[in-house]
Symmetry: C2
Subunit: 331 residues, 2 copies
């Protein structure tokens, strides 16, 4: 890896100020993600095809990272490069490969809601890191960017969790087996697993959603939970959607967090009655998601849930896709 790093440094020095790829700018999309996946609190996550964020990155003549534009955030995100998760992550990355001499400008186009429980900051961060990696012609596996992406998460959420950034970066279903040392495992999944996401536009800050979780739990509940985590992982490997559905039960976090989501259990019942395989909270909420066996059922679920939320005068957004196996991509 050190050899590879030297090579990147050498290559990327050939042609400044255009980075190493020869291009002086790049546009990148990175996907939204569903963390926890009901029973796998803090260890499981997967990427979806939509929504996601876009970053346009340009090599500038002057060392340092700038942010020239942010759209779609209603002014909520900091333009200060020292405070924005994207620029902070990219800075850590450039430092790690000894390219602090480089000048990069960032345009961030938010194409997904902030504070939705869909890994909004992760999508931006991963888009930024992948753009930098592309400009620098860094040929290493994207998973190498994970520690830098986690730096961004640490700033955004107050903790360096990886269950959003890892799937946003690597695509597909990802298990974070361990944080120290960091050990991530990419899991397979049934190709015909559809995901219906509904974001009810109510405020559930990640920090608060985390604070209401109990620190002390019953061993008995923990056993139930890891039986289900093991069942979910088995179902993913066995292509057994019914086992996946049976395993997606959360006796520890959902009972608390669901209180922050209006009509959560009614929405679950509606989704299950329409034929969903499972239903739960995406990340720390308020977005909810259902797995279904086909696209049609996924659309039926979002239609029903959005009508229900609308009846409660709650605006919502919805997304339907299969699991995204690509991760970030150049546009």
């Amino acid at each position: 890896m050190n050899d590879q790093l030297e090579q990147i440094k050498a290559q990327s020095k050939i042609a400044p100020p255009t980075g190493g790829r020869g291009d002086s700018s790049v546009s990148v999309f990175a996907p939204a993600t569903v963390a926890n996946v009901v029973c796998g609190f803090d260890v499981l996550g997967f990427a979806v095809d939509a929504p996601g964020d876009e970053v346009v990155m340009r090599v500038t003549g002057k060392p340092g990272i700038t942010i020239s534009k942010i759209t779609g955030d209603n002014g909520r995100l900091p333009m200060d490069p020292a405070k924005n998760t994207v620029s902070v992550s990219v800075k850590h990355y450039l430092e790690s490969i000894g390219r602090t001499d480089l000048g990069l400008d960032i345009e961030l186009h938010k194409k997904m809601p902030i504070g939705s429980g869909l890994g909004s900051s992760s999508a931006s961060t991963v888009a930024g890191l992948f753009a930098a990696k592309t400009l620098l012609n860094d040929q290493r596996d994207v998973a190498q960017l994970l520690p830098f992406a986690m730096k961004g998460e640490e700033m955004a959420c107050g903790h360096g969790h990886a269950d959003n950034v890892a799937p946003a970066l690597m695509g597909g279903f990802v298990l974070i087996r361990s944080y120290e040392p960091l050990d991530v495992v990419r899991l397979p999944h049934p190709k015909d697993l559809w995901c219906a996401i509904v974001f009810p536009d109510v405020d559930v800050p990640t920090r608060e959603a985390r604070q209401i979780i109990r620190n002390k739990i019953n061993m008995k509940d923990a056993v139930t939970q890891w039986g289900n985590v093991a069942g979910l992982v088995s179902g993913l490997f066995m292509n057994d959607i019914d086992l996946i559905g049976r395993s997606m039960k959360d006796v520890l976090v959902e009972p608390v967090r669901s209180m922050l989501i209006p009509g959560f259990y009614q929405m679950r019942q509606m989704a299950m009655e329409l034929g969903a395989v499972s239903f739960g909270i995406s990340g720390s909420g308020p977005s909810v998601f259902a797995f279904t066996k086909d696209e049609q059922t996924a659309h039926a679920v979002i239609q029903k849930l959005q009508a229900f939320l609308s009846g409660m005068k709650i605006h919502s957004e919805s997304y339907v896709s299969t699991v995204n196996d690509t991760g970030p991509r150049v546009l």
Copy 2:
């Protein structure tokens, strides 16, 4: 299943007093099992080729279950059919298929230590149930016997856990995803995974080993644990012995139970230095086991550990085998 049950009843009524198979006696071996598998407390277990127990079952002319002989138990097991796990389980099974008119005599030959943490009662129970199933020509999947085997466990250990009986019955690696409803999943495993077992002959009653486990645990530790459970299951599916090894860490139960096993951490160090992939407590102990990548290393481990225990004046037994995929078998 009800149709199948009617068929069994009908078939098994054709030729009493010889059961349904036409044979009037059968000898069955059932394997010892390693429950918990370090991180999978109460949800994971696997079967080994050795040791195991044997049951000889004979059809008698008189309704009811008798126990005519028990060997290898040093007089520790009850001869009373109302108190012996084997006869109790078989009785539940006969009742479930409406064959209480049948007379069965049991000879139990203990070929493994009692109270060893190797699923001693499960091996006996499964041998008895499989013998009855064989005599009755019950063609259903062996997994159907699980509820009856759990009745035996309930009597033997004070709780109806399935992490020993399920692998003893089904062979291989088994996940008990859920108890209510009972949901078991057979997991694959690398063919070249060797298991070295050492039983230090010290007294660790299952009930006490269970009582010292804390009821309240930290959420943080639980997350670490289910990350590892998910890693272990992934490693089994991926044939990745290193991932299996990295995942076999227990931050919740082992730190407490290891106190009941003299020299536990020294033995771990010895095993790991000899090249073991993992090391831990089998079930509730005092038996310990190591996974290795080959037979030679497994033998080196048991040799070293037995010499160490011998130095502490502790008698021990040892066993080396791969994972047993067969479960019970007619001898």
